[in-house]
C-alpha cells in the first residue's frame, strides 16, 4: 500500500477519537476473544482456542457495558469474519462501534452526519469523500430514504416480499447499490424488514420493519446502526430462530451469548452502530479497494 494511505489512516483514527472524546464518549477496550458472538444468518466467526471465537463485532461486550450503566461508549477494534474477501472485504478488518444509552437510531444518524463532516474536513484536502473518482460532499443535507422506497424506486420490487422470497440481497447488490453510486451526498437508508435485523427493535407503528439503518457513500456501505432490542426473551427467540435457519441451510449452529442474554433485561433503551474504518479510509483517500488502505493484505503475510 501507499505510504500516504497509512498516514491518512492514522489521521482518520485520530479524528474519530477526537470527535467522540469531545462529545463525552468513553473509549473502551473489550476482549477480542470471546465464547460466543451474536449468531447471525450469514456471518461465520473464526474459531480460536477450543470453543472460543474471535469477535465478529464488539457488540456483545459493549452492550453489556451499557447494562452496567455506561451511557456513551466507543471502541475501535479489529473484527474477524470467516471467508470474506473482496475489494471491500477482508476477513480481519477494523471496526468503529459506538453506543448511546437512552437513545434511538435517529440519534445515531445525527452522530454519523457530524462525524463524517468532521472527518472530511480534517482529513481531506477539499472536504469531500471520493469513490470511483466521484466526489461525495457530506456538508449539504443528506439523502434519507427508506428501504421500502429504495426498493420500489430502484428495483421496482416490494422490500418485504423480496426479503420473504430471499431476493433481498441480490436486489440490493445488483439494483440498489449501483443506483446509490450516483448520489453526490451520503445516503441513509432506513427501516429494514424485521427479519433482516436480528438485534434491532421493531418499529412501533409498523412491526414488519425494524429501526435499523445503513449509511452509504457512493453505493459503499459504511455503517449499520439500530435501536437495540432489549427484551431478553425476544432476543433469545431470535437467536434460536437464526440457528434453526442456519441448520436448515446446512450451516453450523452457533453458541448463544448466555451472559449477554441474562443481563439484557437491565439494558436501557439504547442505540448502537458499527462503521467500517477501512472503508472510511478508502473514501478519505479516494482509493477504491480495501487492499490499498491496510498495512498488509492477508496474501502478503
Amino acid at each position: 500500500m501507499m505510504h500516504s494511505a497509512l498516514i491518512l489512516r492514522a489521521q482518520v483514527v485520530q479524528a474519530i477519537r477526537q470527535f467522540f472524546v469531545k462529545r463525552g464518549f468513553l473509549e473502551v477496550e473489550t476482549p477480542l476473544l470471546i465464547p460466543a458472538n451474536a449468531p447471525e444468518d450469514y456471518i461465520d466467526p473464526i474459531a480460536a482456542l477450543p470453543s472460543w471465537q474471535l469477535q465478529t463485532s464488539p457488540e456483545i461486550c459493549m452492550k453489556r457495558l451499557l447494562c452496567r450503566g455506561h451511557q456513551r461508549i466507543f471502541q475501535i477494534s479489529h473484527c474477524w469474519r470467516a471467508d470474506e474477501r473482496g475489494s471491500r472485504h477482508l476477513s480481519e478488518f477494523t471496526m468503529l462501534e459506538w453506543y448511546r444509552a437512552d437513545a434511538d437510531y435517529h440519534d445515531l444518524m445525527d452522530d454519523c452526519i457530524s462525524l463524517l463532516r468532521q472527518v472530511a474536513q480534517q482529513c481531506t484536502a477539499d472536504g469531500n469523500f471520493t469513490r470511483f473518482s466521484k466526489k461525495i460532499d457530506p456538508k449539504p443535507e443528506w439523502e434519507n430514504v427508506s428501504v421500502q422506497e429504495a426498493f420500489l424506486r430502484f428495483a421496482q420490487a416490494d422490500a418485504l416480499a423480496s426479503a420473504e422470497n430471499d431476493l433481498f440481497d441480490e436486489l440490493l447488490v445488483s439494483r440498489i447499490e449501483p443506483a446509490l453510486e450516483n448520489i453526490p451526498v451520503p445516503v441513509i437508508m432506513t427501516d429494514y424488514p424485521a427479519q433482516l435485523a436480528a438485534l434491532s427493535r421493531t418499529k412501533v407503528d409498523d412491526p414488519r420493519f425494524a429501526e435499523r439503518f445503513e449509511l452509504y457513500l457512493a453505493g459503499l456501505e459504511l455503517a449499520n446502526g439500530f435501536s437495540e432490542l432489549n427484551n431478553p426473551q425476544e432476543q433469545r427467540a431470535r437467536f434460536v430462530e437464526t440457528n434453526r435457519r442456519r441448520a436448515a441451510a446446512g450451516r453450523s449452529t452457533l453458541p448463544l451469548p448466555e451472559r449477554f442474554l441474562n443481563e439484557l433485561s437491565v439494558m436501557p433503551p439504547s442505540a448502537g452502530i458499527a462503521l467500517g474504518v477501512d472503508r472510511l479510509v478508502m473514501l478519505v483517500a479516494g482509493l477504491d479497494s480495501i487492499d490499498d488502505v491496510v498495512a498488509f493484505r492477508p496474501e502478503e503475510l
Partner: protein, 187 residues
C-alpha cells in the same frame, strides 16, 4: 466444474452454451446479508457483455479453448476459410468473428485460430505484417500544409495514415494490434 468462489478476472466459462470471459469479479456481502459474487463477463463469440450476481455454491463448466496454427486460404462472401497446418482440416469463420483482423489478412498468412470445441471464435495475427501500398498520393516537395502523414490504401483495402515519403507499390510494416504504420520494409 468451477465453483463461483474460484472465478477471477480472466476465467473462461460456459453460459447457455457460449464461452464467456470474466472481465471483472468481486465478492460482496451487503450488511448482514449473504455472500454474493458480482461478475462481469464478455461473450467470446459476439462480444456481448453480461452482468450477473451469483450466490455461493453456484458451479460453472469451464470453457476449454484450443489455439491452433492455421493458414488463411480465401474469402467467399462473408466467410473466411482457414486451414489447420497440421491436420489440413479447413475451418470457416464469419466476417464479424474475424473482426479487424480482416484488414491485414492476405492469402497464405499464417495465423493462430482460437477454437471453442469445433467452433472457431477468434483469430490472432502476427504482431507485425508486411502489406503493399496500392494507392497513395505523391508527396509534393512544396507542401507547406505542415502535415506529417497522408492516407494510403493497402492491398487488403485497408486505409491508414503513412509518412509522406511512402510511395505506391512500397511494402510497409503494420502493427496489427494498433492497425498503425510501423516502418517501411527495407531493401
Amino acid at each position: 466444474m468451477l465453483s463461483v468462489a474460484d472465478l477471477k478476472k480472466g476465467t473462461k466459462l460456459i453460459i447457455d452454451g457460449d464461452p464467456y470471459l470474466v472481465t471483472a469479479f468481486d465478492f460482496v456481502k451487503p450488511g448482514k446479508g449473504q455472500a454474493l459474487y458480482k461478475c462481469k463477463m464478455k461473450n467470446m463469440i459476439n462480444g456481448v457483455t453480461l452482468d450477473r450476481t451469483y450466490r455461493s455454491g453456484e458451479n460453472f463448466e469451464p470453457a476449454s479453448m484450443d489455439e491452433r496454427d492455421m493458414e488463411y486460404l480465401y474469402k467467399e462472401g462473408t466467410h473466411y476459410t482457414f486451414m489447420d497446418q497440421q491436420s489440413y482440416e479447413q475451418v470457416v469463420m464469419e466476417e464479424e468473428t474475424v473482426g479487424d483482423s480482416k484488414n491485414f489478412l492476405l492469402e497464405n498468412t499464417k495465423v493462430s485460430v482460437l477454437l471453442f470445441g469445433e467452433k472457431p471464435i477468434g483469430v490472432t495475427l502476427p504482431n507485425f505484417v508486411n502489406l503493399r501500398v496500392v494507392q497513395t498520393d505523391p508527396w509534393l516537395k512544396g507542401d507547406t500544409s505542415g502535415s506529417d502523414s497522408k492516407p494510403a490504401t493497402l492491398e487488403t483495402g485497408y486505409v491508414l495514415r503513412v509518412p509522406p515519403f511512402i510511395e505506391e507499390n512500397e511494402l510497409i510494416v503494420i502493427d496489427t494490434r494498433t492497425g498503425e504504420y510501423s516502418t517501411r520494409v527495407k531493401g
